[in-house]
């Protein structure tokens, strides 16, 4: 009989006033007892609605049953049959709109904490199981994966499991893509990402860093080198700016630059060779998960005040509820219904403030969200010395401009068949943000998984 408590086992976490001064992981993870108690809330539904909500179709009731039985390694084997990165997904997936959003327990009370259980199982495996995964026998076929983010790593893992000889090409000096340059340490410790990648290497996946495909090698070069299938998971690309005056002042960053300095280059450490501007009053423009990450980093770097400046209201804000909750707890100030029109600088081109307008919401626009409209006479100044633009990205032209015959749409995203990730070029597949524009880690993983299946069918 299931435990009928309405609430999830609470997640132990660092207190807000302590954690907003360091980069340690906020959520500490369940103990074995908490995990078993939470697993006991699962009804083991026959129709498994949660599995339908998972982009990589993990057999969720089965792994939870193993947790109930305290067979944590058994649970891990079930998850890892579908997911190349369980410790990552357990931390950063938007479970509330996926598996947990479909959970029957959520109809009355809170859903089963599937994400927290996944994380517990993955962490338990990392801490307790030392033997490396079995390296599958090679089928002699070479696959090139462009980009080592969530899409590329998932595709690599699935194909390696099937016996393909997989090489992953990464442009930066470490593998992981957005998992290492974008998502901050306090949400996803880099040691966890590194361990997941070590697991893939143990299965035979080769990772080549410092390789900007499109420059050092083209897609056609890769075919000439004997790769029979290619997956492009090169990520979201170039940061967008608003196009307002003052965006090139000193102290204006794209979220990509700010987060890369902090996360990839470790600018938060006192002995870092890479500098970062530590503002006193930091304004982050945008309302997505990236905006929350940037704001929480700025607070940890010692900013007295950090604002989220978002042109719609808290109703429409796109970031995950949990991220917003954490940001508010840590003292981030939300200035919603506010839109900057100019960034102001001093005589040395340093940011000193922003001119903003207040907005009000009208009828829904083509995105289905209510359209923000300017409130008359609402112009005001917001004092700030660092401005971070977190308003999305546009695709990187490097691969499309060097790959003849690769079809892209009017935004520059690679065009693929939805089910398979097949592109207009024979043997070339794509997935993740390079196809969809900025989305989530798990959606990219889902695309990597589908493409792996399609590549396997193509080469069989």
């Amino acid at each position: 009989m299931a435990d009928m408590r309405l609430e999830k086992q609470p997640m132990p976490q660092l207190a807000p006033e302590i954690r907003n001064k360091n980069f340690e992981e906020v959520a500490l993870g369940y103990t074995e007892e908490q995990a078993v108690a939470e697993a006991n809330r699962c009804l083991q539904c026959k129709h498994q609605p949660c599995v339908g909500g998972c982009p990589v179709q993990i057999d969720i009731p089965a792994f939870i049953q193993k947790v109930q039985q305290r067979d944590f390694e058994g649970a891990y084997q079930i998850i890892s049959a579908q997911s190349a990165l369980p410790a990552v997904c357990g931390r950063v997936c938007p479970q509330e709109t996926q598996c947990e959003g479909k959970c029957v327990r959520g109809i009355k009370g809170e859903p089963v904490a599937i994400g927290r259980l996944e994380r517990f199982v993955a962490d338990w495996h990392m801490a307790n199981v030392k033997e490396p995964p079995v390296k599958p026998e090679s089928n002699g076929k070479k696959i090139a994966i462009i980009g080592s983010g969530p899409a590329g790593l998932t595709c690599a893992g699935d194909l390696a499991r099937k016996g393909y000889e997989v090489t992953v090409f990464e442009a930066l000096h470490v593998a992981g893509g957005v998992l290492v340059y974008g998502i901050p340490e306090f949400r996803l410790p880099k040691a966890i990402v590194a361990k997941e990648i070590e697991g893939l290497k143990a299965m035979g996946v080769k990772v080549e860093t410092n390789m900007v495909i499109g420059r050092v090698l083209s897609v056609d070069d890769l075919f000439a080198m004997g790769f029979e299938g290619i997956f492009i998971g090169s990520g979201a690309g170039l940061p967008r700016f608003m196009g307002i005056p003052g965006e090139n002042l000193k102290g204006v960053f794209s979220a990509n630059e700010y987060l890369t300095r902090v996360n990839l280059m470790k600018a938060y450490l006192p002995d870092s060779e890479t500098p970062i501007q530590r503002g006193k009053k930091v304004a982050v423009v945008g309302g997505g998960n990236v905006a929350m990450d940037a704001a929480r980093c700025a607070k940890r770097l010692g900013a007295e005040e950090v604002y989220i400046v978002y042109r719609r209201s808290m109703e429409e804000i796109p970031a995950r509820a949990e991220e917003i909750h954490h940001a508010i707890e840590e003292g981030i100030i939300f200035k919603t219904l506010t839109n900057p029109t100019e960034i102001l600088g001093d005589e040395h081109q340093n940011v000193v403030g922003m001119t903003c307008l207040e907005m009000e919401l009208g009828a829904p626009d083509e995105s289905g969200r209510r359209r923000p409209m300017v409130k008359e006479g609402s112009e005001h100044r917001l004092d700030t010395d660092v401005v971070i633009m977190a308003i999305g990205t546009s695709p990187n032209p490097l691969i499309r401009s060097t790959t003849p015959g690769l079809e892209t749409n009017k935004w520059g995203c690679i065009v693929t068949e939805e089910e398979s990730g097949k592109t207009s070029r024979e043997g070339v597949y794509a997935g993740g943000d390079a196809v969809t524009g900025a989305a989530t880690v798990i959606l990219a993983m889902g695309a990597g998984k589908q493409a792996a299946k399609a590549i396997d069918e193509y080469l069989k």
Binding site: H173, N210, V212, P239, E247, N248, K250, E273, P275
Partner: protein
């Protein structure tokens, strides 16, 4: 890891390194750049490619010791390795269809101007070069430039080598007597600014090579953005070469000073570390 196969000092603060990087050497072209990290904790710095040898699989870089990272780089010797070396990045110099070009190099910028001059000369373009330095001890690559140029004008601030004066003086002279399809200027921002102002008077197209603060070098961070004709461009993917008549040099100079204090601090820390 990328081995340093050759290292030589060109003057007291400028050195040349030949790096084993076969894949980069295979694709490198004049005007493009690489990004390197000295060690596993190092920052990423961009350096324009100063030469390459596809057969030997090597890429040449020339750097000036200006900050903590170049100090660290300069501590390495032949046989040592760079931790990371990625490229070629950016767009190559356009060298097609030019009859006569004036190449202007300032200081260590001459290191980048040379392969451009050589690439042009190899295509049959007549190249005249103006090279500027503070004094005779800092003069680099004179022989190489002479070999690639019809006329070579050496300028020093104090007149200790060549003629005394600024590169713009020699360039003005050349613009008066010859007809140029293009001027290519590579050096300090202030030099490129005044070269561009001068060539505008003569209505000669001018290409400058920008070297702003950069992290990834692939367009991802946007830290290298500059203003060109009122439009924001990313030096790493849209450049590094731009129309000098359209670049906002004053803004680029201010942006270049963003981390000045931090760099000073890191330099001092590094000097202390070396002494101990």
């Amino acid at each position: 890891m990328f081995e340093i196969v050759k290292k030589e000092a060109l003057n007291p603060t400028v050195s040349r390194m030949v790096i084993k990087a076969p894949l980069v050497a295979q694709k490198a072209q004049a005007g493009q750049f690489i990004i390197l990290r000295v060690d596993e904790r190092g920052e990423r710095i961009p350096l324009t490619i100063a030469g390459y040898d596809r057969e030997a699989g090597t890429v040449t870089i020339i750097y000036q010791i200006v900050g903590a990272t170049t100090m660290r780089l300069d501590r390495l010797q032949e046989g040592d390795c760079l931790h990371d070396f990625v490229g070629p990045l950016g767009k190559p110099t356009e060298t097609e269809g030019l009859k006569r070009v004036a190449v202007v190099g300032g200081g260590v910028g001459c290191a980048i101007a040379l392969p451009v001059a050589q690439a042009l000369a190899a295509k049959g373009t007549i190249v005249d070069t103006v090279a500027g330095f503070r004094n005779k001890d800092l003069v680099i690559l004179e022989e190489e430039f002479r070999a690639a140029s019809k006329e070579y004008r050496l300028m020093t601030d104090d007149g200790s080598a060549g003629e005394k004066g600024l590169v713009t003086e020699a360039l003005k002279d050349l613009l008066e007597k010859n007809t140029y399809d293009e001027v290519i200027a590579i050096g300090p921002l202030v030099m490129m600014k005044f070269v561009s102002l001068l060539t505008k008077e003569y209505n000669v197209k001018t290409v400058v090579s920008m070297n702003p603060v950069m992290i990834d070098g692939t367009g991802m961070c946007g830290g290298c953005r500059i203003s060109v004709g009122g439009e924001t461009k990313f030096a790493c993917v849209d450049g590094p070469e731009f129309d000098g008549h359209l670049v906002d040099f004053d803004l680029a100079m201010e942006r270049g000073r963003t981390y000045h204090a931090y760099e000073q601090e890191r330099c001092n820390l590094f000097k202390k570390e070396v002494q101990e």
